[in-house]
């Protein structure tokens, strides 16, 4: 295989699919944790409640990225 053939795209489109799927959850998780930190800083006495909600939101968002990840294996 020479350099020219290397430049050709070989492999699986689902790799790109995962990259795309990770964008949204990446932003989402950033927002969730950032806001949780902000809220805790504003009202430290509510930190327990905030953390619970934070993990709930995190769980919902992260599953989207992970669905993209397993789609790579499933729809090969």
């Amino acid at each position: 295989m020479d350099l020219i053939t290397l430049a050709a795209i070989a492999g699986n489109v689902s790799t790109i699919g995962y990259g795309l799927a990770a964008i949204g959850p990446g932003i989402g998780i950033g927002i969730v944790f950032g806001k949780a930190i902000e809220a805790t800083a504003r009202q430290p006495e509510l930190s327990g409640r905030i953390q619970v909600l934070m993990w709930l939101g995190f769980g919902l968002i992260e599953i989207l990225a992970l669905l993209g990840f397993i789609a790579y294996f499933i729809f090969k």
Binding site: A10, G11, N12, I70, Y72, F73, I74, K76
Partner: protein
Amino acid sequence: MQVLAVDGIKLFLPETYDVVWSAIILVIIAVFFYKFFLPKLQSVFDERTAKIEGGIAKADKAQQDAAEAKKKYEAQLNTARVEASKIRDDARAEASHIIADARSRAETDAAQIATNAQRSIASQQQQALVKLKGEVGTLATALAGKILGAKLEDDAVQSHMLDQMIDGMDSGDKK
């Protein structure tokens, strides 16, 4: 580059033996934690808490005891001090009493001795006077006899003369 040798979907299809082993392991671990590990650790925690609380209570009690003992000792010390001062006062009083006693006894003794001495002096004087009187009488009689001769051999005359002379001596003394 061969990336995926088998179907990726197989990753998500559980094998029977995998399920069996996972279930067995989960049950074993769960039983271990439920029945042995956590109760055991919890008992250690409880024991520790009890010990710490007991220790604090004990320390409190010890402090209380110490305070009580201190109070007791101080009270005792106070009584002792009072007693000591009392004893000292008593001793002082007794000492002065003894001194006074001794002094009075000594004074009495001295007075008695003096009286005795006076009395004995007086009696000796008396004795000496009586003796002297007798001897003077005899001497005078003898002397007078020698001077007057036999005249005076009669006892009656002799005593009459002697009395006269002594009276004269007495009146002479009184002068």
